[in-house]
Amino acid sequence: MKELVETIAKAIVDQPEMVRVNQVEGEKSVILEVTVADDDMGKIIGKQGRIARAIRTVVKAAATKEGKKVIVDIQES
């Protein structure tokens, strides 16, 4: 899951080397904390959160097979 979010994030930002994804395992859920360069925040969130929503939709689809809830948390660096 972590790699999936990394792949997507790195492809859409201007500074892929600044992309970090930290995976926190919970009992029933996995939290993926994403940080990007300050200037790339808009690139990963999008207008009215459209890009963030698309990423979450794809991650949710990937998680259906594993039966775990995955939360994508985009954090300010």
């Binding site: 999936l4 792949t7 997507i8 929503r53 698309a54 990423i55 939709t57 794809v58 990937a62 097979k65």
Partner: protein, 214 residues
């Protein structure tokens, strides 16, 4: 975007050197001549080197496919194949078809996963290119099947609006699906359609026109 500036005694030599450094062929490159250079008097005094800028040509089709291949490699799905539909691909749009035994996961509820993948691929492709390309994603004919379903739905609900005289509210849909509803009923003078609400909850309304004559 990979590009380098290269000097050489002649333009041809500079281009050849640049191609070698970038590890690409002439067909894969865009060349801009910055300075043609000059031989100088008798080829001895005052000669100037040629300077060129050589850029790796961006191939939108390849960029999109690489992105999708990478993405699917990191999804727990079996045997995903991304193929370029060449009949639908030109200098304005790129069309991919996804094949996978887990088609339901790739498509998602009402196509939401397919739409999300399409949107992300479009971002990646258009980030790399100067021109805008429309990026379309299909999963083994899903789009066409969905279009037919929506057309049937539009006609059925138009009838309902007419028979009840009330406006009919459809479920929230993405823009291209709403467009199919509008287009289907455009030719029908007895009803009008419009959309209401904010994305992603925007939905089509079908209203029966009042009949002034009777």
């Amino acid at each position: 975007m990979d590009s380098i500036k290269q000097e050489g005694r002649t333009v041809e030599e500079a281009v050849a050197l640049a191609l070698e450094k970038l590890g690409i062929t002439r067909e894969e490159a865009e060349v801009e001549v910055i300075d043609e250079g000059s031989k100088g008097i008798f080829g001895l005094i005052g000669g100037k080197n040629a300077v060129v800028r050589v850029k790796v040509k961006v191939d939108p089709v390849k960029i999109g496919k690489e992105f999708l291949d990478n993405l699917f490699a990191n999804m727990p799905l079996d045997e995903v194949t991304v193929e370029v539909v060449s009949e639908e691909t030109d200098d304005k749009q790129v069309f991919y078809n996804i094949k996978c035994p887990d088609l339901g996961i790739v498509i998602g509820h009402r196509g939401e996963t397919l739409d999300a993948l399409q949107y992300l691929t479009s971002l990646v492709v258009n980030k790399a290119t100067e021109k805008y390309y429309r990026v379309l994603l299909d999963a083994e004919g899903y789009r066409e099947r969905r279009k037919q379903t929506l057309e049937r739905l539009a006609n059925k609900l138009a009838k309902k609006a007419l028979s009840t005289g009330r406006k009919v509210m459809l479920e929230p849909m993405p823009p291209h699906e709403r467009r199919i509803i509008h287009m289907t009923l455009r030719g029908d003078d007895r009803v009008t359609t419009y959309s209401e609400g904010r994305e992603p909850y925007r939905r089509v309304m079908i209203v029966a026109e009042s009949q002034p004559d009777n």
